[in-house]
Subunit: 304 residues, 2 copies
């Protein structure tokens, strides 16, 4: 059974210190699927306008994505333009045009309703709720969100958490949601509201996993060739969920491995603009980078 | 042979969201020694004024520190007052009075000159240079610095790097020194100027080791009870150098272990004001925390 992924399917124009890309594939569902299909099939649900270069999504179908849930509506596709600062840790949004995404109401095709793994990309919590109303009994519901929803639809978001197993947010979002500067306490606050697991993405500083088990930390991959950070978080989610769906086991060991596969896919995402790196990425490269993560974190234990 | 440590011996007044401490023991040499003496004896060199509560340093002598290199000059001791913000990642300096530290000229006692391990705390690069002129042939020279010296005495600092084996700085300082936003490239730039090893401290985000060998990353210890971040970097340096001096071996494995011991000691430093945590810290607690670091970073490797 495929992973069900609901989110934005967008066009991005991106400027970084290293270059520029105009109207390229973007959106949370696109990045998630581009990464996750390296592990497991994905069923995408989203909406695009008449201007969307849908042919460019063919590489996803070839990798096992089912695109039949992507609605084609009249109007413009969701468009985002942004410029990253020199250190690539911050960015300015130059333009956001929601287009057909403004009226998006996710309709989950019959064939996708029995999905065991569901990823709710960063959209309005009410829409994320609607998705869960339409699926049978998923084993794992992972959910992303952002400061915009935390500020504007806090009540809906907190209510949604009861139906979520894994919340995946960045450190700022975790702190903002819990209104708590200490990340450990913030993660506990979130876990007390539903999710058994909180995954905190920290960009170049790596990622943290909070569960009943002890916490787990994975560093950021030390990249010199960092072209474009857009989509790294969704690619992380794709690697994370892709691995869990691939092994079909949800124990502490596999959650940790999922964190590493997530980090690996996030690190590949930023090596090129848009989802381009995933088009040529080979399984051996993924495995090699997992080994690198191991090598750059292991040490011999106490010596006294 | 003791580790030679040259740096500030100060009085700090600190305010954090969790409390307040007035005129307590502080300074880079003090924090370094408080941490390092849990592993290996330390010879301290510094200066204090007539107002310094030297008796309060007795716990360091009891742990194996030689304080005979701490000069007592006429005048006031180096005093620093600061207030930490809510997230404890940033702070405002409320007052700095250099006092006798303004005219500090390190004089290395004869008995300390054969030291194999030397730690140059954060002082003027010319003074750091003077220390190295007075020692015989140390195997390991580790050096800290700060934005103030990078901006004001850049030429002297870069010249000093030729005599340094391990530069220990925070991520902002590494980027500023190399004038390079990418940390990996910044570390390479520094290593090309002398130090074979660069240790980058990233506060709550952990620490990174850059050597000829592959890089190594250790996460920040997930602390809920974080009272006072002052001195964490120097305590890190103390754990790092303390471990190396204890094992007397400088290979890649021990450098990694040193990173973990450094992180452990940094994490203890922030659990209480001033150096207070080190007064009661037991070896079993250090070892237990090393195990925790291992548990929170290990994973099973690739599964495909």
């Amino acid at each position: 059974m495929s992973i069900l992924c609901v989110g934005s399917v967008a066009l991005d124009s991106v400027e970084t210190p290293y270059g520029k890309a105009e109207r390229v594939l973007g959106g949370s569902a696109t990045f998630f699927t581009a990464a996750a299909t390296h592990f497991h099939p994905v069923s995408m649900v989203g909406v695009v306008g008449g201007d969307y270069p849908v042919d460019e999504l063919d590489f996803l179908s070839e990798r096992g994505a089912d695109l039949s849930g992507i609605e084609r509506a009249e109007g413009e596709s969701f468009f985002w333009a942004g410029r990253y600062h020199d250190d690539l840790n911050s960015r300015d949004t130059l333009e956001t045009r929601l287009g057909v995404f403004a009226d998006f109401e996710p309709k989950i095709p019959e064939a996708f309703r029995a999905s065991r793994f569901v990823f709710l990309g960063n959209i309005h919590p009410d829409l994320q709720n609607q998705v869960l109303d339409q699926v049978d009994a998923p084993e794992v519901v992972a959910c992303d969100t952002m400061n915009y929803w935390i500020e504007g639809t806090r009540k809906e978001l907190v209510a949604l958490l009861e139906r979520v197993d894994i919340l995946m947010v960045n450190d700022e979002e975790a702190r903002q949601l819990a209104d708590e500067p200490n990340l450990i306490k913030a993660a506990r606050w979130i876990r007390e509201r539903g999710p058994s697991t909180v995954v905190v993405k920290k960009g170049e500083h790596g990622a943290a996993l909070f569960t009943d088990d002890r916490s787990f930390f994975v560093p950021g991959y030390p990249l010199e060739r960092l072209f474009d950070p857009t989509g790294a978080g969704d690619a992380f989610a794709g690697g994370f969920m892709g691995h869990l769906a691939y092994v079909g086991v949800l124990d502490a060991d596999e959650m940790r491995r999922a964190m590493v596969y997530g980090s690996v896919m996030g690190s590949f995402a930023v090596e090129d603009f848009s989802v381009d790196r995933f088009k040529t990425l080979r399984t051996e490269e993924i495995t090699e980078r997992v080994h690198e993560f191991r090598e750059m974190t292991e040490f011999g234990g106490a010596r006294r």
